[in-house]
Assembly symmetry: C2
């Protein structure tokens, strides 16, 4: 199920890139600088829009890397424009495109850690379900919510993307 | 992985119930009616807080019901207070407590539909990954974001809940 979930993340990262385009078009229509979005926050002590995009990307990228041991591309969080954020999204989608189901063999039993856990570890299975997936959706939904809150015309269908519906 | 994912949803529904308590305490401290939260929206044409809580609950409840064929408890969307919303959350957690891994045998191949799909169907596997899981996280994150936006002191640890970390 790892590869299927990353496939869903790729789909939603692709949707997020479309939201950024919609935001840029909205800015153009209203004659304001589209990059003003990058600093928006829902609360003064919450991370801004740019960081929400970056962390959504990182949640997917780092999960794939940690669960497989495959090196992840570096993204130094220097994006200053919507276009640069879009390029980052595309870079993560391209990275995720390089995985197959086989890469995730043994992922559930891997020992996962990160600096802020101070030496503690999680199994790959627990890390994915308790940390990576909820964080991915948390940050991508904050990106959506920040755009929606600021008047950008996105809706639930833009969030989910196309569904695999079958004709009756 | 169905039962594991529902277990994670239960955990996060339990976290959401705690956010509502934090919101009620905040309202008390600031001397305003705690139920004012129920009508809050991030955009005038987005669903209000109460509906975000209800749909987060329904995303989990209906997914479990549709994937297993087990009847779900009815919730007519009549909640008018934070306490009533908390009761609904607890009711869904109790419903999800009644499932075991065995209930989800064959779930991936089930044919799932709902009225708005106009006769079209999805496989259980696609429905879960493309629709139920993203919707659950979308709505629970909107509940969180609405509280955060309105000054309630919740943070990422309150969103994720306790992690299954192992000592070094």
């Amino acid at each position: 199920m790892y590869i299927e979930t990353f496939s869903q993340m790729k789909k939603q990262l692709g949707q997020m890139e479309k939201w950024l385009e919609t935001a840029a078009t909205f800015a153009k229509t209203k004659s304001f600088d589209p990059n003003i979005f990058l600093g928006f926050r829902l609360a003064p002590d919450q991370l801004p829009f740019s960081r929400q995009v970056q962390i959504a990307c990182d949640s997917a990228k780092l999960a794939a890397s940690r669960l497989t041991g495959k090196e992840a591309p570096s993204h130094p969080d220097t994006e200053q424009t919507l276009e640069q954020l879009s390029a980052r999204i595309r870079s993560v989608i391209a990275y995720l495109d390089g995985f197959s189901a086989r890469d995730f063999e043994g992922a559930a039993e891997r020992s996962i850690t990160q600096p802020r856990w101070e030496g503690k570890t999680m199994t790959g299975a627990n890390y994915f379900l308790e940390h990576a997936v909820p964080n991915f959706f948390f940050h991508i939904t904050h990106v959506y919510a920040l755009l929606r809150h600021n008047g950008v015309n996105v809706g639930k269908a833009d969030y989910l993307g196309a569904l695999s519906l079958r004709a009756p």
